[in-house]
Amino acid sequence: MRALQGLRGPRAPSLPLLLLCFLAALRRSLEHGLSTAAPFTSLPVQEEMMTKSSNLSLESHSISMTAAPFTSLPVQEEMMTKSSNLSLESHSISMTVEHSNMPVEKNITLERPSNVELICQFTPSGDLNSVNVTWKKGDKLLEGNYLVNATGGILYTQHRVAVINSKQMGSYSCFFGEKKQQRGTFNLKVPEINGQNKPLITYLGDSVVLMCKCQDCLPLNWTWYGGNGSVQVPIGVPVNDKYVISGKHANETRLKITQLSEDDQGTYLCHAIFELGESEGHVKLVVLSYLVPLKVFCAIAAEVVLLVAAILLFEMYTQKKKKPSDDGKEFEQGEQLKLDDSNGIENSGPRHRKNESVGQ
């Protein structure tokens, strides 16, 4: 069963006179949010939405109602875009029978209130007319408000949502068929915030700047929460020197923490508030004490000292073996480093000319 419904309202016969009367009537009743012809019981809900959005996009609704019930979709879209103060976004999913087991999903990111048009295209293997089309938001079945069309063996269904606040965000799914249902899902979400993936390493007494950024969006407000464990405490509420919240551009926020201590360790959340909801990012902070790298440093330094000692001892040992008569003064530890070397070049002391090769 195909549901043939006009968009948002009663279906009017395509008579020019009735068109004009209807237009006039609608404009008068705008303030009260009434519609003169209301054959469908679900209309009040739709009307409510219509009122809110019609403050901003009046003409579009009225025109589309009175147009012939099935002008092709592109024409209606065009009219919507021209006259709406809210931006219109159009998103579509296409499905064929082959993808029957894979749920087809599309993520839509919305920042500001706008009209969103969701279109599902389906190419059935069998008869077009036998396919049942339904829309759901979450688990709740949506009635009215959507259009079904069939051209050239492809079934189109279109659902328009006026997204004004967070209540209209969520998952919208279109379903084709009764038994073996093909499902396409649109996920309406607020933009994501990027915190920092790697934990920030800092040291006791140092200061650090935590940053959260949003790629292409401008949140209305930012707040920071910090906490150990599950308790989230807002930061910067009693304004003090330790925490300074700033941000050079609207799409980023910076939290500067000075005088770090071990208690400051943990995960910090930056909360971005949009008209259509909230989003958050995480930044993990780790505070180390200086002893941690210092211990490694001392270990490596000790290893170097051992190496040097080993090399010099080896050298003295091999030289001792070759010059047994030269014990004592010349090969004592400590000073001998410099003396040994200048011995060969500048020392005016006695030279020992031997035929053995050195260092073999």
Partner: protein, 385 residues
């Protein structure tokens, strides 16, 4: 110690090669991989990248200009004390840098202090190496200088790991500990007394006699010209590739290809330098001419295969000329004056290196490559004389 008539060409010399290998790794490998730290410094001190990169520039400048000091000290006291002191200075510089509160602090500690530490280590080591070898000098040089290439591969990921686990302060502390190994490398440099040593005298006398030595001066000028052209391709290769429409990742990969063929070139040339009889200077001429020709071909090559082949060839020839360049010097001035000679050469050629990059930035794409080629040919002519 006994005076030797000629270098041992082996024996303890191979330990000196090992020491030089680790030293070139710890000096130039650290310098080349320092870019990883710069990203952290930009964020921590909130300074632009251009100012942060001055740290490396100061370090390199101090290292090169301080080379004569290093060589004078090693002539007077021997290479071992000079290098060990240099190692301690380098480590100290890095240690102090880990407590830095401003960029100036870093300029002084890493740039000045560590830079002078590096100046005291690199030149004396190479000079000591050339004293230990005569027949196999080029090979020893080539092997020792591979330390630079290999460490560039290893240190960049290592430094990044250190930064992830200890932040830049802790990472600098550990790089300081790493640099302490220069002291151990210095301990390996057993002093060698050759027959020519009492003849040439102290450092002052050596330097004055060198400055009057015609072939030495011409060699220095030639090497300076070569050094001017040396860095130009590395600086501009990536930009050139991007202009031709390459993506960043394949362009970076091509640089790695150049680095690998550089490595191979060094060892191969080192072996070749010893295997082929006659003066090594002829080989230097060969490599510089080839490099010049390759560079001149760069503007002409458009196809990816041509560019890859050219880059591999360039890496090979430019790597090949490095050990040979160092090997020519002892033949020119004798192993007795090698410390001072090398120090002077390093200092003068650093002027070329400093000028090369900015000069090349002025011309347009084609003129850059032409400039580099010209410099190489100039160096080549210098060799002919």
């Amino acid at each position: 110690m006994a005076y030797r008539a000629e270098p041992p060409d082996g024996g303890w010399g191979w330990m000196v090669v090992l020491s030089a290998f680790f030293q070139s790794a710890l000096v130039f490998g650290v310098l080349r991989s320092f870019g990883v730290f710069f990203v952290e410094f930009v964020a921590a001190f909130e300074e632009p990248a251009a100012r942060v990169s001055w740290i490396a520039s100061i370090g390199i400048a101090v290292q090169q200009f301080g080379s004569p000091v290093g060589s004078a000290l090693s002539t007077k006291f021997g290479p071992r004390p000079a290098v060990m002191t240099g190692g301690i200075l380098t480590a100290l510089g890095m240690l102090l840098a880990s407590f830095a509160t401003s960029l100036t602090h870093l300029y002084l500690s890493i740039g000045l202090l560590s830079g002078s530490g590096w100046a005291l280590t690199f030149t004396p080591t190479l000079a000591c190496l050339s004293r230990y070898f005569s027949r196999r000098r080029s090979l020893a040089m080539g092997l020792a200088l591979t330390g630079v290439g290999l460490s560039s591969f290893a240190f960049a990921p290592l430094f990044q790991w250190l930064l992830n686990h200890y932040a830049w302060r802790g990472a600098l502390l550990l790089v300081s500990a790493l640099s302490l190994h220069l002291v151990a490398c210095g301990a390996l440099l057993r002093p060698l007394s050759l027959a020519e040593d009492p003849v040439v005298g102290g450092p002052g006398a050596q330097i004055t006699s060198l400055l009057r030595h015609g072939p030495f001066l011409r060699y220095t000028v030639a090497l300076t010209l070569i050094n001017t052209g040396y860095f130009i391709p590395y600086v501009h290769l990536v930009a050139h590739l991007r202009d031709l429409g390459w993506d960043p990742l394949p362009a970076a990969f091509l640089l790695s290809v150049a680095a690998i063929s550089d490595l191979v070139g060094r060892v191969a040339s080192g072996w070749l330098g010893d295997a082929v009889p006659g003066p090594v200077a002829r080989l230097l001429m060969l490599w510089t001419t080839l490099t010049g020709v390759i560079l001149a071909l760069y503007p002409v090559a458009e196809a990816p295969t041509g560019l890859v082949a050219l880059t591999m060839a360039y890496g090979f020839t430019s790597g090949a000329l490095t050990p040979v360049a160092f090997s020519v010097l002892p033949e020119l001035v004798g192993t007795g004056k090698i410390y001072c000679g090398l120090g002077l050469v390093q200092m003068v050629e650093s002027i070329g290196g400093l000028l090369g990059a900015p000069l090349s930035g002025k011309g347009n794409k084609i003129s850059r490559w032409a400039m580099a080629a010209v410099f190489y040919h100039g160096g080549c002519r210098g060799e002919l004389i």
